[in-house]
């Protein structure tokens, strides 16, 4: 393994899981999340030499992932978001454990949020520090806090609303 591959391997292993969560949260689709993760890390590999250490490597990778997710829209076949009807939840619940069902339901609720809200909330839940999220999203710290407060409320309401079914 050459030195660049070694560096890349370390970067991939340290960041891929969280980036995958971001992509999964954005698309609510396993295959699409894997595609976006791959696309993100291909760009990371291609641009690694340009990384100037002005920010943390994770921030830099997240920025690439966020932009990759946002432009994924143009390839997306404008799928209609799956409405969380009681039937769908019931059928899914039969196939998976309670815990997995809760996770699936959470992802489905995230999919109902606006694009930037999906990205921000997955970073919040993966415990990315607020200043880093603000830097990734290119918005002020104050603005981010307002958004996060609103998204937390919205997601909790959505989850509780559908948990009743």
């Amino acid at each position: 393994m050459n030195p660049q591959e070694k560096v890349f391997k370390d970067i991939f292993e340290a960041n891929s899981k969280k980036i995958y969560h971001l992509c999964y949260g954005y698309t609510n689709d396993e295959d699409a999340a894997n595609d976006l993760l791959q696309e993100t890390f291909i760009k990371v590999w291609q641009n690694l030499a340009k990384f100037r250490e002005q920010s943390q490597i994770s921030t830099w990778i997240y920025r690439i992932a966020v932009n990759t997710c946002l432009t994924y829209l143009k390839k997306e076949k404008r799928q209609h978001k799956e409405e969380l009807t009681p039937n769908i939840i019931e059928n899914k619940a039969e196939e998976v454990s309670d815990k997995q069902n809760q996770i699936n339901q959470l992802y489905a609720c995230i999919a109902l949020l606006e694009e930037n809200e999906r990205l921000i909330i997955t970073m919040v839940m993966d415990e990315i520090p607020y200043p880093e999220i603000a830097e990734i999203a290119g918005i002020s710290d104050g603005n981010l806090r307002v958004k996060i407060h609103r998204i937390k409320q919205k997601l909790t309401e959505l989850y509780n609303q559908y948990e009743k079914f």
Binding site: E5, F8, K9, F12, E13, S16, K17, Y20, H21, Y24, E30, A33, N34, L37, Q38, E39, F41, I42, K43, W45, Q46, N47, K50, W60, R63, I64, V66, N67, T68, L70, T71, L73, K74, R78, K99, Q102, I103, L106, E114, E115, N116, E117, M125, D126, A137, G138, I139, K152, Q153, L155, T156, Y159, N160, E163
Partner: protein, 196 residues
């Protein structure tokens, strides 16, 4: 009823992991060259070959009609125009920096999409028109040396080519693209505004 902290607990208990590893990414790097960049690049190469061929023909053939020289000049201008556009697009694409802020990045994508749409519709019309005029001028000298049948067939070919390009290809393309591009630009605008 759950609060947000309970949702975070659910989130953090998940085992969702990617299906790919770093080796897959490295393997994919060479395979996944940007398709649009390749398309623009090969378009550029094809036009460069066409330009060299026209220049060679122009220099090596003793054309006697001024109209033929004008037609070849029109072809050369069309080739150069096309090449300049491709280079401009390649430059714009290479300037798409994925590490920009999302808002700025989306703005660049929007501009690029708008430019491409303009090129593929309005500019394409003038481009086709210039080539049509170029063909007519080119064939004046040719027509002076052939019989009426050849003239009729050649004129029919030129007219059909022009009408086909404009009436059929461009109209179908416009119809298909207009809906898609408007939807895309609207979506990009909506997403960009989310980052205000």
């Amino acid at each position: 009823m759950k609060n947000f902290d309970s949702l975070v607990d659910i989130w953090q208990a998940q085992n969702s992991k990617p299906d790919i590893d770093y080796k897959t990414v490295i393997t994919q790097v060479n395979k996944s060259k940007n398709k649009l960049i390749l398309k623009l690049f090969w378009g550029l190469i094809a036009m460069a070959i066409a330009l060299v061929t026209i220049l060679f023909l122009w220099l090596k053939t003793p054309f006697s009609y001024t109209t033929t020289h004008i037609s070849l000049l029109v072809f050369v201008i069309c080739c150069v125009y096309y090449m300049v556009l491709q280079i401009k697009n390649l430059t714009l694409l290479s300037k798409n920096n994925l590490t920009e802020t999302p808002k700025f990045y989306i703005e660049k994508i929007q501009k690029f999409k708008q430019l491409r749409y303009k090129e593929n519709t309005r500019n394409y019309f003038f481009y086709t028109l210039a080539i049509g005029v170029g063909f007519i001028l080119y064939f004046i000298e040719f027509f002076s040396q052939v019989n009426a049948w050849v003239i009729a067939v050649s004129l029919m070919f030129i007219i059909l080519w022009f009408l086909g390009s404009y009436m059929y290809i461009l109209k179908i393309y416009r119809k298909r693209e207009e809906k898609a591009i408007n939807q895309m630009l609207q979506d990009l605008e909506r997403i960009k505004n989310q980052f205000d």
